[in-house]
């Protein structure tokens, strides 16, 4: 077991230094949010810019996961621990966003499942999963 911990130790240290940077005087303490925003926008971009239906859903996932991360970030309290009551700990991180995000994750996977089911049907009906090709077919039908 100790070996396993050792492997992850450098990673964790890296994180701690990163965290110190984020809250330290060198940054406005918002860097974490900004990175999350960048992630969100990556996902958002994938959703609206790509034509592939599966990829859109992947983008949606990325978008949502980033939003979850945003919630979890705001829940963090410096020096706090996971919100499980234990003796001798007085500072916990905020549990409420965790609860909300648990719910949101489920909602996300539900949406993904439905979306993918639709993609399968669309593929069978149109023989493609590229949005622009489908649009072309539909315009043809409208005429």
């Amino acid at each position: 077991m100790q070996g396993l911990v050792d492997i992850f130790k450098p990673l964790y240290d890296l994180w701690l230094s990163f965290e110190a940077f984020m809250v330290g005087p060198a940054s406005p303490g918002l860097l974490g949010y900004w990175i999350v925003i960048a992630l969100m926008m990556t996902g958002f971009y994938i959703v609206i810019a790509h034509d592939n239906l599966v990829k859109k859903i992947v983008g949606l996932n990325v978008f949502q996961v980033s939003v979850f991360l945003f919630y979890i970030l705001m829940a963090k309290v410096t020096g706090g621990t996971a919100p499980i009551l234990a003796e001798g700990i007085t500072q916990y991180s905020n549990p409420l966003p965790h609860v909300l995000i648990l719910t949101a994750i489920v909602v996300g996977v539900a949406t993904t499942a439905l979306g993918l089911a639709l993609v399968v049907r669309i593929r069978n009906a149109y023989d493609t999963i590229e949005d622009d090709e489908i649009l072309a077919v539909e315009e043809e039908e409208d005429r």
Binding site: A82, I84, L102, V106, A113, L116, A117, V120, R123, N124
Partner: protein, 141 residues
């Protein structure tokens, strides 16, 4: 699928029971450590999914016929919902667990336990249903 991968099949035969057990542990230990009905349901469901990937959907269906997953879906959802109704009948508000037992603390305990169970059942049944439907498709190319 991977019908011919003997190693995988053997290993997974060993793996699946612990997975299911672990799911049960997560289910009932959620009050103390991380975990709870939802996570347990997912794990439980993935146990079956793993089984289905390796041995084919039909095999799973023999163990767990579609009507039973569907029934479980409903049972899970209703377990949760009716717990709330029980609170109503016993004189509290909806989802009020305090009235479930004489001691509010016990009531809360029972309530959460039952509710989490409901979540677990629903999630597991949902996972299996969704996967089965996907896997039951004829396939594109």
């Amino acid at each position: 699928m991977m019908h011919r991968k003997v190693v995988l099949r053997v290993v997974s035969k060993f793996l699946i029971p612990p997975i299911l057990l672990f799911a049960l542990y997560v289910q009932f230990h959620g009050d103390f450590g991380p975990g709870g009905g939802f996570q347990a349901g997912v794990i439980f469901g993935s146990g079956f999914i793993l089984y289905a990937i390796l041995f084919g959907v039909e095999t799973v269906k023999r163990v767990l016929p579609p009507w039973s997953t569907r029934l479980l879906l409903v049972v899970g959802v209703l377990t949760y919902g009716l717990t709330g109704v029980a609170g109503l009948i016993l004189g509290g508000n909806y989802l009020d667990y305090n009235v479930l037992a004489h001691d509010p603390l016990h009531g809360q305990h029972y309530g959460i336990l039952i509710v989490e169970l409901g979540v677990g059942i629903t999630v597991a049944a949902s996972m299996i249903t969704i996967f089965n439907v996907f896997a039951g498709q004829s396939g594109g190319d």
